[in-house]
Symmetry: C3
Subunit: 211 residues, 3 copies
């Protein structure tokens, strides 16, 4: 199986897992069917949409390449009708979600790193890191904002930071070729995310002010 | 009166009704004059702006075609100075709002359906449906997020879903010509929305979790 | 020292002050290091990013011109590690913040006013005013939304309105040349903002409804 097929498969794993995470949040808030579809779609695809808008790649692939929105919307629809079961097994979704985080970070890094030289942008490393994190974690931020919550990735989880580190891994590994760099990114991000989940790693933070 | 004039007139009805809905939310939250202008503008025009950004139609017509922002800002300003009266009659705004929902959905469908073949996008039906809903309901989502609330369209109202159905009506009716398809869309969306309002229709939803 | 150098220097003052304001909000909410970086970056640069996306200037300068994101991220990082000190002196940040508000409004006005004729947009005055306010105050709106709060600029401060007035000053002063118009804008916005701060000026608002 070629690297390309593996990466695209993991991308779909991510779309489905992210959509379920959006649907679970919609259920937690008592939303209706449209809320499930919107949060599922946004969690899975809004990060990539924001990346594409910032790079001028419009219309964004996540809007017009039908398999992506159809996968996200179908997963959200199924999560709506099977909500009691999905909710009961929600901790298991964290593992495909970690795989999807890696795939999204790798795809975001790859798109950005190849966009820059083609558009005369020099010194692209910070943009690669930022857009890896945006591709992978932007959807979760939109999900939480639409749910009326402070985005969890800003508060305590090693999530967007794992994706940002993935952008760095891509840059370091890019002399090995695009596909190898993407595979290395996926492996690094997924490993860090699962380690953070199982060991309770968190980023440092300041003590919350008493109001 | 030509269909074009009718559609543009209903578009202005929508801009005014949506701006008032934004201004009412600003008043409910005790915002100042700038809050009224921002929420009025956003409710009326942010959906179309997001559609245009996603399609690469920049600068968005809602930003640079002066009659649109001037209408939205003037309606918001009047709603500020006449706030006690506007608040008292706010239930009547729901009817022009329903008309505007139909006009916005029809315009969003028409723009997207004509954009796709001109830009080599095949299989555009889902994009038409999604961007109809975004054009018509996106402004209300921005309004609620800026007001610190979970968007009402995600929770219980037949609103964005009526607009999405309007995108489908446009596609089915499009062999009749653009203007006929738009008129059919407006009629369908407005009828569904008013029926939902008067009969209390809602989309299905899951039972809210106890926190 | 040329006007260009003064304006660019004040722009950096703004980036640093805005990033610190974002970091302070992150600290107030008990966010982690990534939250500090995200809110610092967004407060300083999201307004200009939204302006550039609306004008089709992609990728936005705030994303790909490294000195801007590096300055914002470095200021946010320092504010994280020196948080107790930054918090203690936070009232002093309001003065460089007012200078930055002026610089951002002037830059937003200048970019928009020069964009319009080059892209065949007539009657650009309202767009100049709106995009001055968006450039200067859009980042603060994103900061507050990410922090789960109703944006303060919509509720009580003379902030976005000072920036909008700056757009008007730019237009009136533009016969004097671009640099003179920008300097006049910075002077006007900064003066109004500091006067509003020290004298407690506020925009009119309606009485908050009892819930």
């Amino acid at each position: 199986m070629s690297a390309e097929i593996i990466i695209e498969t993991l991308n779909y794993v991510g779309i489905i897992a992210f959509a379920i995470s959006g649907a679970l949040k919609a259920g937690e808030k008592g939303m209706d069917l449209l809320g499930f579809l919107t949060l599922g779609f946004s969690t899975a695809l809004a990060g990539g949409i924001m990346r594409d808008v910032l790079l001028g790649r419009v219309p964004p692939v996540n809007v017009v390449y039908l398999p992506y929105p159809l996968t996200a919307l179908t997963a959200s629809l199924l999560a709506f009708f099977l909500y009691p079961y999905v909710k009961r097994f929600k901790d298991y979704v964290l593992y495909p979600d970690a795989v999807g985080l890696g795939a999204f970070a790798a795809i975001g890094a790859d798109i950005t790193a190849n966009y820059c030289p083609a558009h005369g942008v020099h010194n692209c490393w910070l943009t690669v890191i930022m857009l890896s994190a945006l591709t992978a974690a932007g959807g979760g931020v939109v999900r939480d904002v639409l749910a009326g919550e402070i985005p969890v990735v800003l508060r305590r989880e090693i999530y967007a930071s794992a994706a940002a580190l993935g952008g760095l891994v891509y840059l370091v590994a890019s002399p090995l070729g695009r596909e190898a760099a993407m595979m290395a990114t996926i492996a690094a991000v997924t490993t860090i995310r699962i380690a953070a989940l199982t060991r309770g790693w968190e980023l440092p933070r300041v003590k919350r002010e008493t109001p």
